[in-house]
Amino acid sequence: MVQVINLTKRYGQHIAVDNVSFTVDKGEILGFLGPNGAGKTTTMNIITGYLSATEGSVKVDGFDILEEPEEVKKRIGYMPEFPPLYMDMTVQEYLNFVSDIKKIDRKTRARNLDRIMDMIKIGDVRKRLIKNLSKGYKQRVGLAQALIGAPQVLILDEPTVGLDPKQIIEIRNLIKELGKEHTIILSSHILPEVSAVCERVLIINKGKIVASDTPENLSRRLGDTGRLSIRVAGPEKQVLKLIGGLAGVKSVESTGAREPGTVDILVEAEKDIDVRRPVFYALSRAEYPILHMKPIDLTLEEIFLQVTTQEREVS
């Protein structure tokens, strides 16, 4: 559906996107993961035709963005990082305007808009000025705008930024729902978000794709159950010694006491070994109760570190 071939974007000496290639199949939800400034937004801006690539090409449904921009733009709904809203319009006026510029047939328009507003739950603010809406509603109007005209491809740039946790979950569910009818590319710098929604993840850093896989495989490759945070009621020295002596434990360190009489420790296991059970039995035998134990999710920085070092080892 979307083909990106050897895409490069240079700003003078600075390379924002460096020889990026990938394809997105019809009906797929692709996650674009990377820190700020990795080139996610630039890539999306090029796919949607807002920017032009220095080199390389983008094809959507077989149409080239440079040769037949209008055909491509008809097939894409784009929600940029900052929703492109006209503050002096009401929600209804704004969506009508977007329908106008997307050349939607006037007869079916009202029905389509009602359906979209129902789905995104903005029907109750349709008469309000956009500038008076909360950030969450503005974000949703931005999403509604992208859905107008039932485009085959949806490109969403950090769709959950600035929303409260409840709204984030709503938007994620909505995206999953939309994924049944649309091909979706979405960007994020939050790993759990991408793994919750996407079928495939591209990790991009400094303009280059550093990994491309399903979220499950990425997690496995990166071994994100390898580290545990444990709070134990017991003396620090003995606990460290006890756990340090277990088979499969690579390292153990104390992160300080947050409750009186307890100690927080960080356990790192060898690759592919689950040390949770041995840790439990050892501590319970010594009668040091475990107050909590949880695996530590890798932060994005750590993933990059891991992915980039792994790539180096492979090559």
Binding site: Y50, D100, I101
Partner: protein
């Protein structure tokens, strides 16, 4: 294009911009009309139109400053440029919206000659001709404002630069009278033009050989002109800059003459600036 046009027109009248433009324009034109027609019992309305052209200096920047700059500041240009509209359609929609507000204002001022007609006969066709010229002159000024607005995302800068550009055009005739008209200065000016074009070529494609080739061809043309028709360079500076003298071409309309050449001139002037605006926006995508 129509969608953009409608939105812009609405935006003018939802914000103070449209009202300030119309209010200020009508206030000043009303003042001039009252003073020179009513108080002086003078039936010549064309004189009023001619003397209020200076209002453009103040009101055109108000009208055009936010046209393109606000879009890039609010990032709404992402919506327009990723929609199936052509850039030309977007720019034309915005241009015609500004021209439309100006036209509405102008239609209101038609009351003045109608008031005059109560007191005697007025030269209807001359006044219509004068209005056509006045409208085209204003549209040309608006096209400059539109272009300037596409250069920046700051409204204030757009307004100040537009004002300066219009002021320069305003004092052009006066500046021209002080410029040298001899042959040597004409040749120097032509060479500077060639250098300017070569520099422009260099900065857009960064290829020193193409740039040098352009410079050589340009100098060759200058030399060829010098040997075939050396009188060409007499007063070249003045003749070239006169092209920008929008006001000089309004003189005909002021005298009640409706001729084709200034009409064509104004329309092509506006088209060039609309075209430059389109190019400017396209260029931004590539930078």
């Amino acid at each position: 294009m129509l969608a953009v046009l409608r939105r812009e027109l609405r935006a003018y009248f939802l914000s103070p911009t449209g009202y300030i433009f119309m209010g200020f324009f009508l206030l000043l034109s009303g003042f001039f009309f009252t003073y020179s027609n009513l108080f002086q019992a003078n039936p010549s309305y064309l004189g009023v139109l001619g003397s209020i052209t200076f209002i453009f200096l103040i009101v055109v920047p108000i009208l055009t400053m936010r046209l393109m700059s606000e879009e890039s500041r609010q990032k709404t240009d992402q919506l327009l440029l990723t929609s199936p509209l052509s850039v030309t359609g977007i720019v034309l929609g915005k241009y015609f919206a500004a021209v439309g507000v100006f036209l509405i204002t102008l239609l209101i001022t038609c009351l003045y000659p109608i008031i005059l007609s109560f007191f005697g006969t007025i030269a209807v066709w001359e006044i219509i001709g004068g209005y056509i010229g006045f409208f085209l002159l204003g549209s040309a000024f608006i096209s400059i404002g539109l272009f300037v607005s596409s250069l920046t995302d700051n409204q204030v800068i757009a307004a100040v630069v537009t004002f300066s550009a219009l002021l320069f055009i305003w004092i052009m005739d006066w500046v021209l009278s002080g410029l040298p008209t001899d042959r040597v200065s004409g040749i120097v000016f032509a060479c500077m033009l060639v250098a300017g074009v070569a520099a422009l070529v260099y900065f857009s494609i960064r290829n020193i050989y193409v740039c040098a080739a352009v410079a050589l061809v340009g100098l060759g043309i200058v030399a060829a002109l010098y040997f075939t028709n050396e009188f060409f360079f007499d007063g070249l500076i003045v003749r070239s800059l006169e092209w920008f003298s929008l006001l000089k071409r309004y003189d005909n309309f002021s005298m009640g003459i409706l001729s084709l050449s200034p009409i064509v001139y104004y329309i092509s002037f506006s088209s060039i600036f609309v075209f430059l605006t389109v190019r400017m926006i396209e260029k931004r995508r590539w930078s």
